[in-house]
Symmetry: C2
Subunit: 189 residues, 2 copies
DNA sequence: CGAATTCTGTAACGAACAGTCAAGAAAAGG
DNA sequence: CCTTTTCTTGACTGTTCGTTACAGAATTCG
């Protein structure tokens, strides 16, 4: 009924996500976001309301595009050890491939924004909980938890994943990260 | 030969450390630091040169006051499992005690600043490496690594510690963190 | 008691900040 | 074609940013 939006909303959010991931919420200015997305200031505010609104959209996109597919893969019910092994090594590959020094948006948001922004907190908690659930269900279903609660093992895996992101930010060393993944995997029964 | 400094430098750096830890480097303004330290703008610049200078002093203080004592404790050569168990549970206590939602300055600096500031990077790397060394030496000396390289186990422990800080930022739940610590401890032979 | 030196407090700097707004451009319905 | 509605653009708001400059206070040495 009126003029159509000229920019691709998803592409803009994707670009914003990378910008936020690289320089954090406070470290990324509106001007940075205008340049990263190629969308004008006014349009950005019309579409997302505020800097926080765009940040939340970026966090949601991270969940939809990176966390949910992982959960889907876990729901396929393949052998846990192989699955986790693959997930951790893929993580190492991703980190080592582009010499990436930046933690993922999830870790960055958890550390920088979750303590200050309830909206971010609830999103990060929900995503982490979903991943935990998927891990726990899988471990429980395959009886691989030994005498431990599958949920504790799932939380441990989440801790390892987050910890590896931090380690990568300090030093993105493929060999070291691979070895860490192997040790963690050894904790699964 | 001249007027003496009125403020306590160490106390100022300590206060700045807490401020940076709470709101990050970009999220903490000079005005915030003036209020947190009780030191005037001019004096702060005279003493530390710049915001980055004060941040580096805070990172150094974190190393001296929190990382080095930990390393000293590891050098005492007590049984590894008890030592690590104690360290992880102390960590949980610290997190749970004040319902702390903020990751330590080390994790915060690693995620937010290390990718952008070489000075921060070299400091964080050095501190992490020292802690790794201490863990590795201890594990190696007590022959507790099984068929693994003690250094890999040490890196894994650092990953767990960093990961627990992130998990705490998402949800500072004592029971969950305790369980995570127990699982990680199980990886030590 | 000066002279020299270093600190403190405040005012000010230009730049960058997040956010707003009005005017024009584009599309759809009548 | 003309109205209506939405989107785009870019100038603009007041505020806050990190940093500097400077005057005055305090301390030590001669």
């Amino acid at each position: 009924m009126a003029r159509a939006r000229e920019f691709d909303t998803e592409a803009a959010v994707e670009a914003a996500m990378w910008a936020f991931r690289r320089t954090g919420f406070e470290g990324t200015s509106i001007q940075d976001l205008v340049e990263a997305t190629g969308v004008g200031r006014g349009s950005l505010y019309a579409a997302f309301g505020s800097k926080e609104g765009l940040y939340l959209a970026a966090v949601d996109r991270y969940r939809d595009r990176y966390a949910l597919p992982l959960i889907e893969e876990l729901r396929r019910g393949l052998p846990v050890r192989d699955l986790v092994h693959g997930i951790l090594l893929d993580l190492v590959d991703e980190i080592a491939a582009d010499g990436n020094r930046h933690a993922c948006l999830m870790v960055s948001a958890a550390v920088e924004r979750a303590p200050h922004d309830p909206e971010v907190r609830v999103r990060i908690r929900a995503t982490t909980a979903s991943l935990e659930d998927a891990f726990a269900d899988l471990i429980g279903a395959q009886g691989l938890s030994g005498d431990r609660d599958p949920r504790d093992l799932a939380r441990f895996l989440m801790t390892t994943i987050h910890g590896m992101r931090v380690m990568a930010a300090i030093n993105p060393d493929r060999a070291a990260l691979t070895a860490i993944a192997e040790v963690a995997l050894g904790c699964l029964a």
